[in-house]
Symmetry: C2
Subunit: 271 residues, 2 copies
Amino acid sequence: MNRAQLFEQITRRKSFLCVGLDTDSAKLPAHLLTHPDPVAEFNRQIIEATAEYCVAYKPNLAFYEADGIKGMQSLEATMQHIPATHFTIADAKRGDIGNTSAMYARSFFGHYGFDSVTVAPYMGSDSVKPFLGHQGKWVILLALTSNEGAADFQFETLQSGGQLYEKVLRTSQQWGTADNLMYVVGATKADKLAHIRTIVPEHFLLVPGVGAQGGSLAEVAQYGMNKQCGLLVNASRSILYASTGEDFAEKARGEARKMQQEMEILLDKYC
Amino acid sequence: MNRAQLFEQITRRKSFLCVGLDTDSAKLPAHLLTHPDPVAEFNRQIIEATAEYCVAYKPNLAFYEADGIKGMQSLEATMQHIPATHFTIADAKRGDIGNTSAMYARSFFGHYGFDSVTVAPYMGSDSVKPFLGHQGKWVILLALTSNEGAADFQFETLQSGGQLYEKVLRTSQQWGTADNLMYVVGATKADKLAHIRTIVPEHFLLVPGVGAQGGSLAEVAQYGMNKQCGLLVNASRSILYASTGEDFAEKARGEARKMQQEMEILLDKYC
């Protein structure tokens, strides 16, 4: 999916919501446990309930890998349930030397058919570039994450100027463009969004940390939105686990709709 | 496997060789292709041929993930072929927020039964800690990698002092000890090893980049070895693809033996 197509979906659905499929096989509603693939069935119902209100789905690879091959079968089945209208993100935080990153690209873009994959920047250019240059596919590079440990290295001030996360934003613009490169920017740092927009005005930002992790959607939109929206805001637990009972999908739909309604107002205001 | 047990294996085999199982399903000898699981069969023969001369095996996850579920089945089968005497490394370069890293730990330590996993440091403490504290299990944290892109961020000089990779070495010592934490240190930077040893004198270092990637084993031992060896030196392609014919395992054995013989001399000299 290219940038124009993604923006078209955002405009059509009046939403920039990404639903994070961090589906924990240990937290499923009891009535699904007799299903042959409870994780895929849970995801299927979540997708069916929320597709109207979101533009992207983001399976978190760790949650599938935790169950070994069974988990990867659930992931394959889940990918089949996601409509072609929706942007897909492999939240995998990969990154390795060139020939190895090329193999990860083959897995996520080729085998599973994702539109994008999250990539960690520590190993630099040749760890990221093999993911770029696949027609219609994207790298979503970690810049500023929303977790506590982000402070350990990402905020280090460099003698060459700026903080590490700013260096990542600046250097990586030599590797890709706003048409194949997005950035992860944690929503708990909404005050930093305006500054980040001066460095990467055009790029889409994937913003986690709204919902169960806290973070204000209004602030994110105010400081982060650009003319083509430029935002995908992720919510995982607040939607997936809105209810732990048989009404989980209905409650997830309600949560997604609530976020979409807020997003519609923000799109009218800032985009 | 704990540190004493690992050192015992090194002493017994007079080797600190790690064989990297970067097994590319597209590069297998033709005569294996009729086998139901050619990758696992290739690995089985490589393991059988080299076990006498090495102390560790390091499957590179990307090469298995590239083939989807079939690849993960090959990985499971491969793990069954590795003797319990040998240390196992999931070369996966993972790292995510706490609850997600915990899921990756469940996958590699619980499901696949690895002794250790390589972890990327960019997201800081809470992305690494969930991998620690598993009895007998290890984190191998990326510090200084051997690829070209290492220069993009790892060598950045920080205002707080030192370069980024040094900060990673120093900060991470608050998270784990020499009994559950190792570091990846690229062999092409052998001149930096003496310096790194002043920061982490006790920790084991996993050194890639010897063999097909270049790098001098003698230099690595001279500057990197400590009283308990403290080194695992990896070779992948030079062993796996020593021959592309029916004699691949025999040729792999020859390459591994050659490295072991050099290592035996170096262990006598420096350890």
